[in-house]
């Protein structure tokens, strides 16, 4: 590998030297090496190599901290396992922190003392981003979002053409030529967002959500420029890029005077906007921001939509996206919506807050470099699905959908993968 630029290295080290981040210092110095995190990690559970233990991922960041910020680390590094930030260490960090962690946070909930392991993995990624060591395929997804406003670089006219197409399809389906998918309208109650893979390759989920809005008689809009709910800047560790992406969406909601920002079905996008967004922007949002799942629950509660769950009678199971359930608090909300829409739900084991990641989180799906590992750890999820004997897997995250599609194919699960909007739209009484 090429040598690390000394100036960039100093910037990376400065991320650990800050004495104002009490959370960082506490969590870097707390691991007691109990080992409970090992079996909670899909990588360790699949490959049984010590390097995959979450505590080892914490340790590599902690050892660099010690080397430059503690007396013993500076003067007797070997005694305290303090490591210099050199090419060898950095390469190992790339492999462990980018290549072997979905940032699912399952280890965090199993940690005997509550070390926020994902936070430290993210801090390590920030250091690597400072040194220009983000895996190329992940960086290219961020670059597309920064340069074009969406992570698949979809040109505006091709996007609007697809939206118009879905509007026509919706009108046919509900037999009402007044059914609409509004674009760039101002002063709407709802500013809705998409994962770019919807307009690019899988647009039926847009039509499904539009059908729900139609049934609820909602005033809503999509933007033609900034509709992307994802923020891969959260995964590549480049805070400046994450901030720019979050700000584009924030500013667009203000420009169109949307009253509420609805985060489309995307785990990390919801996490990055809702929980990290205020940190990126340096202020709280001026408008309300909730996920599509929570909005649908509101519609059911208030009677704005009516559902006939006998229309979804095939056995279904639920894949809980880590960033919405374990790290997002939507366990009960998601169950509420799905039990109102489906008559035969079989839970996986484990499920809910202890559920396993699909295997494609943490930016893994965008990183070709670690494809084999990703499909390897996905076998845990594939086995869960196959044991459930469900015919449909529902998940409110397009990233999970894509990983599940691949698992379905690779492990011959013979199931159908659907989003929440799709299954709810199917149960609508119009």
């Amino acid at each position: 590998m090429k040598p690390i630029d000394p100036v960039k290295r100093e910037k990376a080290l400065a991320l650990l030297a800050s004495t104002s981040d009490s959370k960082l210092l506490t969590h870097l110095n707390s691991c007691v090496r109990c080992g409970l995190c090992a079996i909670s990690c899909m990588y360790y559970d699949t490959f049984h190599e010590a390097k995959y233990i979450p505590a080892v991922k914490v340790d590599i960041v902690a050892s660099i901290y010690k080397r430059y910020n503690t007396f013993l680390g500076k003067h007797a590094p070997k005694l305290v396992n303090a490591r210099p930030l050199n090419e060898e260490t950095a390469e190992e960090m790339v492999d462990l922190l980018f290549g072997s962690c979905t940032m699912c946070g399952r280890c965090v909930t199993h940690c005997s003392i509550g070390v926020d392991i994902s936070y430290l993995v993210h801090k390590g990624r920030e250091m690597l981003a400072e040194m220009g060591m983000v895996p190329a395929s992940l960086q290219s997804t961020v670059d597309a979002a920064v340069q074009t406003g969406n992570n698949m670089a979809i040109p505006v006219e091709e996007y609007t053409d697809t939206i118009e197409w879905m509007e026509e399809e919706l009108q046919d389906e509900v037999e009402d030529e007044n059914a609409r998918i509004p674009l760039d309208e101002t002063d709407c109650n709802i500013f809705y967002t998409l994962n770019p893979r919807e307009p690019k390759f899988f647009p039926l989920s847009i039509k499904a959500m539009a059908k729900i809005f139609y049934a609820a008689k909602e005033s809503w809009t999509l933007s033609s420029k900034y509709y992307d709910v994802t923020n891969y800047g959260y995964f590549n560790g480049n805070t400046a890029e994450a901030t720019l992406i979050a700000r584009n969406l924030h500013d667009e909601v203000l420009r169109l005077k949307g009253k509420r920002l609805i985060l489309g079905e995307c785990g990390h996008g919801s996490y990055a906007n809702r929980w990290e967004g205020p940190n990126y922007l340096g202020h709280s949002y001026e408008f309300d921001m909730i996920t599509a799942v929570e909005l649908i629950k509101e519609y059911i509660d208030s009677g704005r939509i009516r559902l006939d769950k006998s229309l979804n009678s095939e056995p279904v199971t639920i894949h809980d996206p880590c960033n919405l359930i374990r790290n997002g608090g939507l366990f009960k909300t998601l169950r509420y919506v799905l039990h109102a829409s489906c008559s035969n739900i079989i839970e996986m084991d484990p499920y809910g807050n202890d559920n396993h990641c699909c295997g494609g989180g943490g930016g893994q799906l965008a990183m070709s470099e670690y494809n084999e590992r990703r499909l390897g750890i996905g076998k845990i999820k594939a086995d869960q699905i196959s044991k459930s004997s469900a015919k449909i897997v529902i998940t409110p995250c397009h990233n999970c959908v894509d990983q599940l599609l691949q698992l379905n194919h690779t492990y011959k699960l013979n199931v159908k993968i659907m989003t929440v909007a799709e299954i709810v739209a199917n149960a609508l009484i119009l």
Partner: protein, 98 residues
Amino acid sequence: MAQYEVDGDGFLKDPDIWNATVAETFAQEDGISELTEDHWKVIDVIREHYLENGNAPMVRKICKSTGLKLKDIYDLFPLGPARGACRVAGLPKPDGCV
């Protein structure tokens, strides 16, 4: 797979070496036993768009140009337009959640 140089996701590293044999090989790996006329319509549209624009076309364009319905595309390529059809057409892996 071993005969062509591919990235971690199995997409061709050099899209220029693509030919019909590559397409057939990749299709078989995806469980498509034979490339039908409809498969080729999709592949040709994707390929043409790629050579002109350097990226994958929208599924909208694939439907429009081939006259196929969305459902047909998903049925023809079980891994979907991106990991399925684009890979068979010899494109690099598209960015994003695919």
